[in-house]
Amino acid sequence: MKKIILLLWIIVTGLQLHAQIIADSLISIQRLNIAVPGIPAFQALGIEPGNILRPSDIKSVALMVSEFQSNGSFFLPSAFAAEIAPVMLASPSVSLNEYREKKFFRFLYKTRLSMATSTEDEIVRNMTGGIRFAIIDKGDFKMDTAFLKENIFNALDDSMKLLSTAQKIFIKQTNTSPIDFRDSAVTSTYYKFILDSLYKKEKLNR
């Protein structure tokens, strides 16, 4: 006889109250070194699975669920661990700005459901489910415009400028069409040479 223990363990993550009073500069540092809370379903069973399934699209979820089915009926796998972000999977078309502006959406987006099974002996099998979410997340660097500019966008903009300038030089000098550039020339040695030269020149000018 199989004994199934179903636990629902809600863990509220986020920073503790004392963390709210730390200086903004410390928050920036904390972003890079924040402790990730444990996954509730695994903690409930006291296991640390080596292989956690984290499907990144709806298709993968469907494939995962289909593996629990055999001859038309569902069965419980003996060792299984998965964590799913349902809203993230269901809304791949949200923009960075929509994410930053919609507080409730952000809450749902970060919510994770977890599920795990383990086997005690030949007849006892345990299963748990859990949910984790963040009410306050001051460690989310995507909400910090200054941090994004300084650490992500400045570098992206500088690199894009170099790539675009190198492309224009290559196209002009080789009379390659822009579409042919994308399809073949982007990997050419000459383009890489132009890019490298521009990069060195830029570095010298700083």
């Binding site: 992206l156 894009m160 492309q167 579409i179 994308r182 982007v186």
Partner: protein, 129 residues
């Protein structure tokens, strides 16, 4: 020679404009280039990023029919800012307020991964002769 999707406009219609949409939790820096028809001349060039959605909209040159055959290129440098996820980059072309065509790229990106994307659309008019 590789082709681009044709977007048909009315040469005696309202002015043309383009809008770029970036979906997904990504950092995106782009270079928009309007290439000449059958030439490699740069007609227009703009740069921007997705930190602000409101400024990714550009009016194309006048007169309207001068854009016939011109090639819209959107080159984007992307960085994944979240867990592995999907992104979608879209070129929207409007004539006045009316959306007359789109071209898009959908892909997936790993957290911290950087990749470059190129999307093209050619502006064309109907030849009824």
């Amino acid at each position: 020679m590789a082709n681009a999707k044709n977007i048909i406009f009315q040469k005696d219609g309202q002015p043309l404009n383009v809008n770029f949409v970036f979906k997904g939790i990504i950092g995106a820096s782009y270079a928009f280039t309007l290439w000449g028809a059958k030439t490699n001349d740069v007609i227009m060039e703009k740069k921007g990023n997705n930190l602000n959605d409101d400024d990714d909209h550009y009016d194309l040159p006048l007169p309207v029919d001068s854009n016939t055959g011109r090639l819209i290129e959107l080159s984007t440098l992307l960085k994944g800012l979240d867990e592995k996820g999907k992104y979608k980059i879209t070129i929207e072309v409007y004539q006045g307020d009316q959306l007359i065509g789109t071209e898009e790229e959908i892909g997936s990106i790993e957290p911290g991964e950087t990749k470059q994307s190129f999307i093209y659309a050619r502006l064309a008019t109907l030849n009824l002769a």
